[in-house]
């Protein structure tokens, strides 16, 4: 896994919110349900996104979560850096703690190229792009619920 489960849920939730009409908050439990994630865990992930300034939350009746204005232009790298920290960028393929250009593992140069590709891939795509893709109907944000063929 290149990114943590928490990051995956975070990205899914953000895309989902980006597909919703702005203005009215969406319930944590509705997001969880739509994505097939356990409600308590989704709640925790959403809290993290609020702390990271990507979401706004309102409590009480008619409360819930909305994308902050401007957050739809955040790219995936920003989201992953927020939830997983700088791991994605730094990590050495062989696990060396000190794998820099001067003190490199034998895969360093090759792996550096791949990391750049990953960086570009994540950094070049915004929540808005992904929301549009989902809205086109050609892509899925979550696995289908099981039991589809069961009746």
């Amino acid at each position: 896994m290149i990114i943590s489960r928490t990051s995956q849920y975070a990205i899914q939730a953000l895309i989902y919110l980006a597909t919703q009409p702005g203005g009215r908050p969406v319930l944590s439990r509705d997001i969880a349900h739509n994505l097939g994630v356990s409600p308590p865990y989704m709640a925790k992930v959403l809290q993290g996104l609020c702390r990271g300034q990507l979401l706004d939350s309102t409590r009480g009746r008619r409360g819930g979560f909305v994308l902050r204005s401007g957050a739809e232009h955040a790219n995936l790298l920003e989201v992953v850096l927020l939830t997983d920290g700088p791991r994605v960028d730094r990590e050495c393929l062989l696990g060396l703690k000190a794998c820099q250009d001067e003190t490199a593992c034998p895969m360093h140069l090759n792996w550096k190229v791949v990391k750049k590709d990953i960086h570009a891939c994540l950094g070049g795509i915004t929540l808005r792009h992904l929301a549009k893709a989902v809205q086109s109907g050609q892509y899925r944000l979550a696995d289908l619920p099981q039991g589809l063929a069961s009746h």
Copy 2:
């Protein structure tokens, strides 16, 4: 982490063995010591590599591990597939279980390109290449032992 710790240790051990003069077996504990890995865990990793046909082991006095003949031409993808299974290839960035071309997540096409790059990177480099690199003295196979500055 794109590959497991076990895979990282496996690759390190294989490269290390590829740098050793063939013929005489190398002790599990010597490999562990040279790479800064705990001896029992390294022993377990080496056993896996024997089962996977990459190493030969001999027991008893003057026993230890040697690279099987031909194994130096194994590439990193083969090693990772052996120790981690097909995870690296398949995995969806967003964690969907069924993310194929027809039932794709919105990152599928972009991520497919990155996976191809990773595949090429791992598949294009053999243990021999890496052993040569280490033998050149320009690269490290393990972190320096701590306490270097302590006396």
